[in-house]
């Protein structure tokens, strides 16, 4: 028996502690945890990849662009549509007023050019209609350009046109009591008469040139049998001669009942107004901007577009066409001639009816983000994700090391005591197998054989007497187990004899200990030996 205990100890020493031929229990446990963790992490990564977690930045961006485009494009289509309708209505009223005035003085509309003295009264009378239209609509300006000049004798007369341009400096503020209306074009005398201040860019007449908003509108209306609602024209973003701010102009011809075109009128949508109404809202993509551009072949004409964003798109405004290329992921790239690239979404906005004179002019509304910004955002998102995963992994490794150490500590401690030959003093580890092993070793340990001479307990002591007395309190099942202990059988042998599981035997043991008032197997065996000695039986080895 002694040999067997020594053998076990040898094995323990060589395999569990010294790691001469393998790894420690802790390491085995740690390795197990790490392998488990690696499997879990791998699974997690696979799930993240398959669910597209690493492209969440791109998806968010796509969603943001889609929502903004839907919202802004809807607003622009509605606002431009309303202005178009209101513009046509204004043109009809102005035409009627002009025609009636000319009729009163007996001049046919086609002869207006030859009567410059009539221009100022005509313009003065129109102020009221223009101011009302301006106050009523979401527009930064309203204008009337007559196809005539106050001084036909001037060398520049062919490019000078009399008219009025009134600007609403605060088109986005509801303040009907004091509308901030200023005078941009028109005779200064009318401005004074109507108590309107001149703007620094004031000029008396409009400077027009072939191909501009004035001639394009007039030329399209000439000889056309389309109704007025099909003849309006949205002039792309540009600044009037002598002006600084860019704007889009809605131009409607003034066609009198005899078919003469006496001029044009319309509304202005300034770059500032467009910006205030259509800037995309995003705290992530702060450089996102709206672009409302005319289509030029397969590209967008950036120089004639309207922009809205917190950052100015000035470099783009001065660039040429913007080439559009659809990507497979639902977005498009927009490349400027200088190599600047944007990502975004776009959709067509119909600002003309299908059968209108300018229905061939296509306009695109796009929400764009500098490509670099999207890349940086996705990279930052993923970096944060990976950082979190790495932190989770490191934390798990630390936890695995700690748990392995804590779990194995009692085992290693107990084994160390066995190694040190202190089996009898080993404390319970609460690990069933280890406690059994220690018990087993203790039972076979020669040092566990007690001699009566060395013990305090004697056959006459009250403790022993109580022990004997308490034997009667054992149940039949416990008594059967106790008797087998008396005969020197080990717990394992008892399981076989009684056909019980080790756990049942353990339960019986606990009850036997409790009833006989002993705390350990060692103490039990001591009393058993005393009983046997009393009965004259030789002690079992």
């Amino acid at each position: 028996m002694k040999n067997s205990v020594e053998g076990v100890e040898m094995i323990l020493k060589s395999t569990l502690f010294l790691r001469k031929n393998g790894h420690s229990l802790q390491r085995h446990s740690f390795t197990f945890f790490i392998l488990f963790l690696a499997a879990v992490m791998l699974g997690l990564l696979l799930i993240l990849f398959s669910t597209g977690a690493f492209s969440v930045g791109f998806k968010e961006c796509h969603l943001f662009l889609r929502n903004e485009l839907k919202h802004i494009a809807g607003d622009v289509a509605r606002d431009f549509g309303v202005l178009s309708v209101e513009g046509v209505s204004l043109a009809m009223r102005l035409t009627e007023q002009i025609e009636s005035r000319l009729q009163a003085v007996g001049i046919s509309p086609s002869q207006l050019k030859n009567h410059p003295h009539l221009l100022e009264p005509l313009l003065s009378e129109s102020v009221e209609l223009l101011v009302t239209a301006l106050e009523k609509n979401k527009s930064s300006g309203v204008f009337l350009v007559l196809d005539a000049t106050v001084n036909p004798a001037l060398v520049t007369a062919d490019r000078s046109r009399a008219g009025l341009f009134l600007k609403n400096m605060e088109p986005n503020v509801i303040n009907l009591a004091f509308p901030a209306i200023r005078f941009l074009r028109g005779p200064a005398s009318i401005a004074r008469q109507k108590r309107l201040n001149l703007l620094p860019q004031w000029q008396m007449e409009f400077q027009v040139e072939p191909g501009d908003f004035f001639f394009t509108t007039i030329n399209a209306a000439k000889g056309s049998d389309l109704p007025l609602s099909r003849l309006y024209y949205w002039n792309p973003s540009s600044a009037l001669v002598g002006n600084y701010e860019k704007a889009m102009l809605l131009c409607i011809p003034l066609i009198t009942s005899d078919g003469s075109i006496v001029g044009i009128c319309g509304f202005e949508v300034s770059a500032m107004l467009f910006k205030l109404q259509n800037t995309p809202a995003s705290s992530t993509y702060t450089r996102a901007f709206t672009m409302f551009a005319p289509v030029q072949g397969d590209a967008l004409d950036a120089s004639k577009a309207m922009y809205a964003g917190n950052y100015s798109a000035i470099p783009l405004q001065n660039s040429g066409p913007l080439t559009v290329k659809m990507l497979g992921n639902g977005l498009s790239t927009y490349s400027a001639s200088d190599g600047t690239q944007f990502l975004g979404l776009h959709q067509t906005i119909n600002i003309y009816p299908k059968d209108a004179a300018f229905s061939a002019d296509k306009w695109i509304m796009a929400i764009l983000i500098p490509e670099r910004d999207l890349k940086i955002n996705i990279r930052q998102n993923n970096r944060r994700f990976l950082l979190l995963l790495v932190m989770l992994f490191l934390f798990s490794v630390g936890a695995a090391a700690l748990i392995s150490r804590r779990q194995m500590a009692p085992v290693v401690g107990a084994l160390q005591m066995v190694k040190d030959g202190q089996v009898s003093t080993c404390e319970k580890t609460n690990i069933q197998e280890i406690d059994d092993l220690i018990e087993f070793l203790a039972a076979r340990d020669p040092s566990e054989s007690y001699s009566l001479e060395t013990e305090e307990v004697t056959k006459t002591s009250p403790l022993f007497q109580n022990f004997v007395k308490n034997i009667k309190t054992l149940s039949p099942a416990e008594r059967a187990v106790f008797n087998l202990y008396m005969k020197g059988y080990t717990a394992k042998e008892i399981t076989e004899i009684l056909c019980l599981s080790i756990n049942t035997i353990k339960t019986h043991n606990k009850r036997i200990y409790a009833k006989l008032n002993v705390s350990s197997r060692k103490e039990l065996l001591l009393y058993v030996r005393l009983i046997q000695e009393q009965e004259g039986a030789p002690p079992q080895d």
Binding site: M169, A180, A191, N197, L198, N310
Partner: protein, 453 residues
């Protein structure tokens, strides 16, 4: 165990501090948008836009601040909107984080608790870099700074040199005579008579020589030049003997037809050749242009001369300090900090001079004023700007500047005076043409009416 607990507490506190303080600190990844209204429109807009863009793409991007200009309109329009906001009018817009305003408007906003005090957002050293009188002007009733100077102006005399030369050649009136108010008054009467004489077949069709953007300012500064005080908290000192020269300057030539009376800016009349000279803000220089457009659509290229603010005979050289400043809306510490960051950047000499050299405003830091302005005079973009900077630099060397008081009734008193004086000038002229009284007699009668109204 104790150590471990301390570590845990420190860890929790760090997390709280990180998330808690983060909301109040600027973060480039989550930039804060600062809305701004300003009155630098027209030609000034391009340089303002340029500077705002530069801020947004450099320091703003680095620190997490975006300046978004949401309104550009005239000072009086902005003032009107701010008053609507202060009064809580229905339909009033939301107050922007940064707005240009005069102290008198700022006073109303301050009273409603809408402005953030700025003193503690600057170090003493930083504030010392600005001209002290500009900082002082921005302090309101509680002596704290609310109106931060970004560009200032004063008043000068703009003279259409082309028109004046013709007048001078015909009448011998010298440009130097316009250095005094009395000289201007005399020239105005002569100009009307001379232009009237050019069309002998038409009587009383002479032209006006002069106008002012604010007759109230002339009275305010004129009284100060002559050693008096025009404004009291609840009334104007119009009965003082010192006021008489001001009345005579303002009304007598007007009765004779030498002055134009308008509700608009003097530059509007100047652009149509209806006056020869006017007193207005240096910041109005861009409104004058370089040509006159006549009613028949013909135009003429003209040059302007900018003269220092005139003085009354026997008075000291004084002029008005004009130009508002930027007010910061009371909001979150983060937004206020972001707004101040822009103000600090915008008023650094380099940025400030870029703005000033294109607009007619004056710089606000000592460094920009003392060193850079001389350089800017030589590199000014237009001749008008060059002349303006020369006149302003001369005035800052020789003049004392008057800062209008922030009395509660200041605005209504000034408005009332302006309306009354213009009305008297117009009606008096009509009476003169009708009754043909002696100018001095009529003027005295009108004065008595004015005082006893």
């Amino acid at each position: 165990m104790k150590k471990r607990n301390t570590l845990i507490i420190c860890g929790i506190l760090s997390v709280f501090l990180f998330f808690g303080c983060n909301r109040e600190k600027l973060d480039p990844k989550n930039p804060v948008t600062i809305t701004m209204w300003h009155n630098y429109g027209g030609q000034m807009q391009s340089v303002m836009d340029e500077l705002v863009d530069e801020f947004n793409s450099t320091i703003g991007r680095k620190k997490g601040v975006i300046i978004s200009v949401t309104s550009i309109s005239a000072s009086k329009d902005i003032q009107e909107k701010l008053l609507m906001i202060a009064a809580g009018d229905p339909g009033a817009p939301e107050m922007p984080d940064l707005v240009t305003a005069y102290p008198k408007t700022a006073h109303i906003l301050w009273r409603e608790g809408l402005l953030a005090p700025l003193d503690e957002k600057f170090t003493t050293k930083e504030l010392d870099a600005y001209l002290p009188q500009f900082i002082e002007e921005g302090r309101l009733a509680d002596d704290r700074l609310y109106v931060f100077p970004i560009a200032k102006s004063t008043e000068v005399l703009f003279v259409n040199q082309t028109l004046f030369d013709r007048f001078s050649a015909a009448t011998g009136v010298e440009l130097e005579s316009l250095a005094t108010f009395e000289g201007i008054a005399e020239a105005a009467v002569k100009y009307y008579q001379w232009t009237d004489s050019l069309t002998p077949h038409k009587i009383n069709d002479g032209k006006s020589f002069f106008t002012a953007d604010s007759w109230f300012n002339i009275a305010q500064v004129g009284m100060a030049q002559l050693g008096g005080d025009f404004i009291h908290p609840d009334h104007l000192n119009i009965t003082s003997e010192i006021f008489k020269p001001i009345w005579n300057f303002s009304v007598l030539p007007a009765l004779a037809g030498g002055y134009a009376v308008t509700d608009g800016y003097s530059s509007d009349l100047s652009r149509t050749g209806e006056i020869v000279c006017s007193i207005g803000s240096t910041a109005g220089i861009l409104f004058y242009g370089d040509s006159i457009t006549y009613p028949d659509n013909t135009s003429e290229k003209v040059t302007y001369t900018v003269l220092p603010y005139p003085t009354f005979k026997g008075g000291t050289k004084m002029a008005l300090q004009r130009g508002g400043g930027m007010c910061v809306k009371r909001s979150s510490p983060k937004k206020e900090h972001a707004a101040v960051l822009f103000l600090k950047w915008f008023t650094q000499p380099e940025q400030n001079m870029r703005f000033v050299s294109s607009t007619g405003y004056l710089p606000v830091t000592k460094e920009a004023f003392e060193n850079n302005i001389k350089r800017e005079i030589t590199t000014a973009k237009t001749q008008n700007l060059k002349k303006l900077l020369e006149a302003a630099a001369h005035m800052y060397g020789e003049y004392t500047f008057l800062v209008p008081p922030n009395y509660e009734h200041f605005d209504s008193l000034s408005k009332e005076y302006e309306i009354m004086v213009k009305h008297i000038m117009l009606e008096g002229r009509k009476r003169f043409l009708k009754e043909h009284n002696a100018l001095s007699v009529l003027s005295e009668a009108l004065y008595q009416d004015f005082v006893n109204r």
